[in-house]
Structures are given as structure tokens and as C-alpha cells.
Symmetry: C2
Amino acid sequence: MLLAEPGMTPASWREHYERSGTPTDIERFLEHVRVDYLPHTVLVDCTASAAIAARYADWLAAGIHVVTPNKRANSGDLTYYRRLREARRAGGSHYLYEATVGAGLPVVHTLRDLCETGDEVVSIEGILSGTLAYLFNVYDGNSSFSEIVGAARQRGYTEPDPRDDLSGTDVARKITILGREMGLGLELADVKVESLVPAELRGGSIEDFMQQLPRFDSMMRGRLDSARARGKVLRYIGRLTAAGEASVGLAELAQSDAFANIALTDNVVRFATRRYCENPLIVQGPGAGPEVTAGGVFADLLRLAAYLGARL
Amino acid sequence: MLLAEPGMTPASWREHYERSGTPTDIERFLEHVRVDYLPHTVLVDCTASAAIAARYADWLAAGIHVVTPNKRANSGDLTYYRRLREARRAGGSHYLYEATVGAGLPVVHTLRDLCETGDEVVSIEGILSGTLAYLFNVYDGNSSFSEIVGAARQRGYTEPDPRDDLSGTDVARKITILGREMGLGLELADVKVESLVPAELRGGSIEDFMQQLPRFDSMMRGRLDSARARGKVLRYIGRLTAAGEASVGLAELAQSDAFANIALTDNVVRFATRRYCENPLIVQGPGAGPEVTAGGVFADLLRLAAYLGARL
């Protein structure tokens, strides 16, 4: 880590870091940022670390605001999630995490506005993984599924280990976050997840996985063909109902379905509520990537500033 | 108007109003709500009145917050709009108007988040009138355009005078509001508006208008046919670019265009920005009606409460 007083220019941080960096020590970091002469402290956690997320409760209770795109705290243990809410209340602090779902797309705040103004959410459905959106937008049977996964990996559209996308866990985390936001006592384990990683390939190296994946192409091809026989297309969808049913997996959709017609790596979220009943409220667009995620985090930071009395 | 201390139950306001109502007097109303023992005053203007909107600047300058779905102030004279911004700054007050565009849909705040976090808006396009969306979703040549307008009016989908919808002014107001939000010095008169009210029918009673409208059916039918000859559909669209080009009118769209496939009275807004360049950010759903508009206004009110330090 690198501590500096009073700050540093973005242009030269790397040079400073190489010269004066020290081993990461969160306690020292906190001492550094929490100084008497500054009225507010906010930690922007841009890691994906469960260990950092485990500290939020203490920080919030101590009046330190937290802004994060890290899904770990909100999709982790429910008891801890509830402790976060209490800590925030006790500490008079703010906890903002719009970018945990759909990056910069207005998803979490839209849901919160609906709930806080007395609407009742009936269901939320979404394509919440740009990677899985891409794979099934492209998969038309001309290339095998494993070839498409391989090509997507080459182009940087998947995680280094594509199993991190194909397992559906990331989508299940997002569904958990949205479910809790609408008031459900949902655990990640309650989300029925259809993993696209064949059971035999869950262990082993990335190279092994990529090499073995073609063995399962015919299975995926069978699903595509049977969907097509019914005039449908395959999409990887997350679903959530007011009754707490939560699932993530492959679904067959009509070709006219809005979810069947999104652009390459788009995310899309559809809120059906008591108010938005005949037609749902839909938010759609790129839902991953450094720039739009940074935009979502930055918007939360400005919202926090407004909550704290800044005139923007 | 009806003033009460300390308030009244929603169930019986009508009865109270009939017994104790007095002629509307904004000055007396202000005296009533601005009392020393309450820390904040907010006026929620749910009229469509230009006369009320003309008072916002004084109220904001005096530290009174304003929440409104009324489009008049933000789409009126640009000098006044700028005075509003200054008054808000001088008074340390908040001015919130999410429901002026798309009712409860997250449009204004999404645009503001993009701009404030340093994104650059390239263009905004939208179907911003539920009425016009409905008319062109339904108009397929089987019924004449005037029949469709008549039926929509019967079902309460249009204003009492359908010319208020068909003139395009309402959409132009929304485009003006969005343009100013993205920093353009736009006047309503700068928006190129294609009115669907034939010039000869602009005056006269509603009945005259409805009676004369069939005379223009063949003209509209000609436009539909020529669009179809090119494999296109007709939609009434508002457009806005970073260079300040603003227009509102009928456009021919490909049948695969997202705007060609919205449900009946849906609004849809498409933001193309430097960040959202390959695929735009899209917000879609019912954009008019009392319940969703009230939801948008209420969400603004809760946002204001959060800005003022309420713990929600």
C-alpha cells in the first residue's frame, strides 16, 4: 500500500508506489485516513475480498462510510448482512453499493426507490452476467459451445478461469443482493443455481478445463436444438419473486422476448411491481467493465457527499 | 386551499376541504408551512402551473426546497432556469424534479450521475410520450389514424384535448429539460418540433378537431405506407445531441429497433455516452400515470430527507 499526505497526483502514483510502498496494513491505513481535522471518512473498497468486506460492520459502527462494488458483504452470511444494517444505523454512517449489480446501471437505487415509496416488488428477472449474455447471444450452433467459450476467453470477455462465469455464482450473488434489498431474508445457498460447469470439470487447472470442455458440446447442442424446436432461444437468467423463490440458470425464451434481443454483453433487469404491473420497469446496458463500474462507484461517492451536506 | 395544524388524515381531507376550504393564496400558504419550530420547508408542486413555477426562484433563494413533476420551470425561459440554479446555490436549498421526465423511471438522476461523474453524453433519444407511443404502436393501417386517436381518447389515453399530445410540445419540454441537465443552453423554441396537429385544426373546439381529423387520415396513411415500403415502422421520437441539435417528430425505424418493440404506452430513453458507446444505457417502462408519477415525486422527497440528514 501507499500512504501519502495530503494526496498524490494520479499521473505519478505508480512511481511513488514503487519508491515508498509498504506492505498492506488495514489498521495503519485506517489511522492514516481517520484524522481529527477531517469531518468525514469514507472507505471505497474496490477489492473483491471477503476479508475486507468482513470489516465493514466495524467501520460503519465507527461512523466510517463505505462505498463499494464488492459483492462479498451483501451476498455473504445473512447474519453479517443484518449486522451491517444495524452498524450503519448505530454509527450514523452510509453504506452505498450501487455498482455491485450492473456496474453503473441504475439498478440498486431504482429498486430501493420503489421499495421505500411503498411499491411492492412482484418479481425481478435479469441477465446479470455480461459474459453469459455474450456466450448465448453468439451461440447459434455454427460453432460449438466450447469454441465460443474459448474465443470469448481470448478476447478477454471471461474471467481468466471461465468457470468463474459459467458456474453462475456471480449471478447468484447479484440475485441475493437484490433479494435482500427488497426485504427478503435470502442466503446465497437459497438461490437455485444451474452451473454450466460439468461436475467432472470443477477441479483441475484452467488448461485441463478448456481441453475437456468439448466433451460436453453435444449436451449443450441438445439443449439449443430442443429450444429451437419450440421456436425459442437459450438465455442465462436470474429470477427472484416476492415469495423468496430465487433461481439462476438457462431458460428458453421466445425470440420476441426483450431478453432475447439485447446487444452482445448487455445486462438487463426487469422489475415487475404493483405499480409497474402491466409493463415492467426495465434497465439495460453494459453492466461490467472498469469504466462503467468506476462511474457507478463515483456516483455513490457524490451521493454520499450530498447526504453529508455538500452542495453539488 | 385547506390549511390544517398539525395535519389531517388522508381519509377525511375532502370533507375538511369542503367545510373549511379557503380561496388559494400562496402567500398565506407559505406563512403556514414556514414556521420557526420546523427545521426544513419543502414545497411539493403537483400542479402544471407556470404561475407556481415562476415562484420557485424566490422559494429556493429563501431556503425552501422544491420537489415537482411540473415541467414548466425547467422547460421555460432559460434565463429563469439559470436564476433557479443560482437561487438554489444561494439558498442552500434543493430542487428535485425526477418525475418531470418519465414519471417514476430513473431518467433525470441517471443523466445527472453520468454527467457529474465525468461521462460525456453523445446523444439522448427517447419515446417520451406514452400517448404517442400508444398511437403508433397500434396504428397499423387497419384502422385510420383518426379512429385510433378517437378510441385512445375514449379510453383516457390522451389528454382531454388530444392536440395537447399530438402537438409534440410535451415531448419537446422533456427534451429541453434533459438538454439543460446535460449542460446545454437550450430553449424550448430551439427544439425542432413536428406537430401532428394539421395547421388548419390548431384553433377551434375539441369536437371540431375530432370531427375534422379524418380529412388528414390519407396523409398519415401515406407516411405509414412509405415507411413500410422500406421495411420500417413509424414512431414519434425525441432526439438530442451534445452539439445541441434537438428535435421531436415522426421517424422511420427498423422493425428490429428497440424503440419499435416497446409495450403499449411505455416510455424509453436511450443514453449514448463516451462510456456507454458501443451499447447505450436504456431505461424503459410506463412513464406516465398518477401512481408512477407519485412514486417518482415521493422518491425525490425521500432523497431530500436523506440530503438533510434523515436516516432512512
